[in-house]
């Protein structure tokens, strides 16, 4: 006889949505302007860059890896695409492709170092994080690129949906999340990602090419970071060589809060979206409440510990 409890998704997956509901309720009750469509549209725009970065991060964490270079690669992409458009007058689509190409190439580099040289992802991405940062600073001469073609910023514009402003970039983010969710859940190649994270040795023995799956995950993540860099340019209207530093840790936080296990093999990518939105909600809500940002950092830290604890405890119980 199955109880209601059995039929609900596990706590680690429900967790971020519960946290989101609690945070929204608290802020809705304590402030005037939190619970408005305009405010929610704003929060979604504020998290869309981290949100897309976090998709790539989720894939890597699902394979029991971690990518410390995600934010720096995003910054690199935004500098490459804005600089080539400005310096060489390249047509916008080509410039965007070059920017995304740069981040994807770095993703390939990460993947090769992990699969061919067998280095731990933590160490590989620690190194590429610094390399990407340095290249970004050198290429941009530490100057923000302010002349940005309109073709790169239209994703930051909004359109009216039932009288409420919705940004095109947010629509893209949601579409990417749904596509990834579907791919991970319902296709063989997607399920292979979970298999590799769960038990790489057993997966290899079944005949699934684990190295190819891993490499593919890192390259795909690099692609997502490139799309995020376009969204960043669209939102701020500039190419900022100092961008991506907050996003680096925010993306990992979103993945952990979203219930994806750091040990690999478990997690739902939609949870990451909820995790990313929770971070944005906290920042927005606490500013509306007039509370110091130090408390936002405190609460986020507590939530992360809770999320990882829930994941650890449910691992022990469920298996």
């Amino acid at each position: 006889m199955s109880t209601v409890k059995d039929r609900l998704p596990p706590l680690s997956q429900l967790g971020p949505f519960i946290a989101l509901a609690v945070a929204c309720t608290v802020f809705g009750l304590t402030t005037d302007n939190f619970f408005t469509a305009a405010n929610f549209s704003l929060i979604l725009q504020q998290v869309m860059v981290v949100g897309v970065i976090a998709i790539g991060q989720t894939l890597i964490v699902l394979t029991a890896g971690i990518d410390l270079s995600c934010g720096m690669l995003m910054a690199l992409g935004s500098i490459v695409m804005t600089k080539v458009a400005q310096d060489f007058g390249l047509p916008t689509p080509l410039a965007i492709l070059l920017g995304i190409g740069a981040t994807t190439l770095f993703g390939l580099l990460n993947g090769l170092l992990v699969t061919r040289i067998k280095l731990p992802p933590f160490i590989v991405t620690l190194g590429t994080m610094n390399v990407a940062f340095a290249i970004t600073q050198l290429y941009s001469s530490a100057q923000t690129v302010t002349e940005v073609p309109e073709g790169m910023t239209w994703l930051g514009n909004t359109f009216e949906l039932a009288g409420n402003p919705v940004a095109y970039g947010v629509v893209l983010m949601v579409a990417l999340y749904l596509a990834t969710w579907f791919w991970l859940r319902d296709t063989a190649s997607g399920r292979h990602v979970y298999a590799v994270g769960n038990n790489p040795e057993a997966t290899r023995l079944i005949g699934i090419p684990t190295d190819r799956v891993l490499l593919g995950v890192y390259v795909l993540a690099g692609l997502f970071y490139g799309i995020a860099s376009l969204l960043s340019v669209a939102r701020t209207g500039v190419g900022d060589p100092n961008g991506g530093q907050t996003e680096n840790l925010d993306a990992i936080t979103a993945v952990v809060l979203g219930g994806t296990s750091l040990f690999g093999g478990r997690g739902v990518v939609l949870g990451t979206l909820a995790g990313a939105i929770v971070v944005g909600v906290l920042r927005n809500g606490l500013t509306l409440m007039g509370v110091s940002s130090v408390y936002q950092v405190l609460i986020t830290g507590i939530l992360v510990i809770v999320a990882v604890t829930v994941d650890q405890l449910s691992r022990k119980g469920g298996r």
């Binding site: 530490a142 500039v238 900022d240 100092n242 500013t287 509306l288 940002s293």
Partner: protein, 328 residues
């Protein structure tokens, strides 16, 4: 006999060579980062002055604002390498023990731009005064309208952030902490405050959230010019870019250009090159005469505004551009 002579001559030559090298004052410059144009200009100023005065300059920095670990390592390495004077823009109080150890070895430690306890001397902008100037300008420009001010700060606890913030409020005529405090004041007129880390994307987010809280904001104080660029983006998207008075501190060339464009109403310009040059000169003075610099030297701050307002002394955009730091 010939061999002995050769050895003696070689040793003598070595001694002479070493002595000549030792006469050159060795000065270390440790900035917060190497990438912020403010510190790039500081490094350039230091190098030029060192070349002029015949001193050897070593440079190092952290990776980002707050990276005290890298600064501590740099302090230790530079002292070992023979630096007799260290010029430091401190990323945080974590460097204090390393500073004390260096001073115990006879090294002169001068703070540039950001004050820290125990430094032999401080060559910096009076950040409180920088805040006062823009506060006075904002009040005069606003006139008799009731003020609704958004404060876009750096992050909690930073002395420079606190001084500019509290200075602005004092200049505006609001009750605020004095220059010694690291806390950020608030009054009913400051309807919103947000942290920006001094960067553009966070500045945009903070401004957006503040506009959500209070759509009638008519004055925006920002910690520095990158934060302003983000705040202006947010205001423009909300259709509020006209009619809001935005002020900032820095006076970098990009910021002065923004004053010219009407993005920033007024900015307090500071002079990193001067800080560095004075620091190097003090280092040479100490190496040559053993006299340490002391006390606080104000390296000056100028209010740059496109439109002057009654009762507040300001310089125009052209003057600002002539004096600005960064890429023109």
């Amino acid at each position: 006999m010939k061999r002995l002579t050769a050895v003696c001559l070689a040793t003598a030559a070595l001694c002479v060579g070493m002595h000549a090298h030792a006469a050159e004052p060795v000065i270390g410059l440790i900035t917060k980062t190497e990438t912020n144009p403010f510190f790039v200009k500081m490094k350039e100023g230091a190098q030029a002055e060192a070349k002029k005065l015949g001193a050897k300059l070593m440079t190092a920095s952290g990776k980002k604002d707050g990276d005290t670990a890298a600064q501590i390592t740099a302090i230790e390495n530079m002292v070992t390498a023979g630096a007799k004077t260290l010029l430091i823009t401190s990323s945080g109080d974590a460097i204090l023990p390393a500073v004390k150890k260096a001073q115990a070895k006879g090294v002169q430690v001068i703070a540039l731009d950001s004050p820290f306890e125990g430094a032999d001397a401080l060559f910096a902008t009076d950040n409180y005064k920088a805040g006062i100037l823009i506060g006075q300008y904002a009040k005069a420009a606003l006139g008799s309208k009731p003020a609704k001010i958004a404060m876009l700060d750096l992050f909690p606890g930073h002395p420079v952030g606190a001084q500019r913030h509290n200075g602005f409020m004092t200049g505006f005529g609001l009750k605020a902490h004095d220059a010694k405090s690291n806390e950020l004041s608030a009054t009913p007129e400051t309807v919103c405050a947000g942290d920006t880390d001094g960067n553009q994307a966070r500045g945009q987010t903070a401004m957006e959230n503040c506009l959500q809280k209070n759509p009638d904001i008519n004055v925006v104080y920002t910690i520095n010019e990158p934060a302003v660029a983000g705040a202006y983006n947010a205001l423009k998207k909300a259709g509020k870019d006209k009619g809001v008075i935005i002020v900032s501190v820095d006076g970098g060339c990009a910021g002065v250009a923004d004053v010219g464009k009407g993005v920033i109403a007024a900015t307090s310009q500071q002079y990193p090159l001067k800080m560095a040059a004075m620091g190097v000169a003090a280092g040479v003075e100490y190496a040559k005469g053993g006299k340490k610099a002391s006390g606080y030297v104000d390296t000056g701050v100028t209010l740059i505004a496109k439109n002057a307002v009654a009762g507040v002394d300001s310089k125009d955009v052209q003057t600002g551009t002539d004096l600005c730091w960064g890429k023109k």
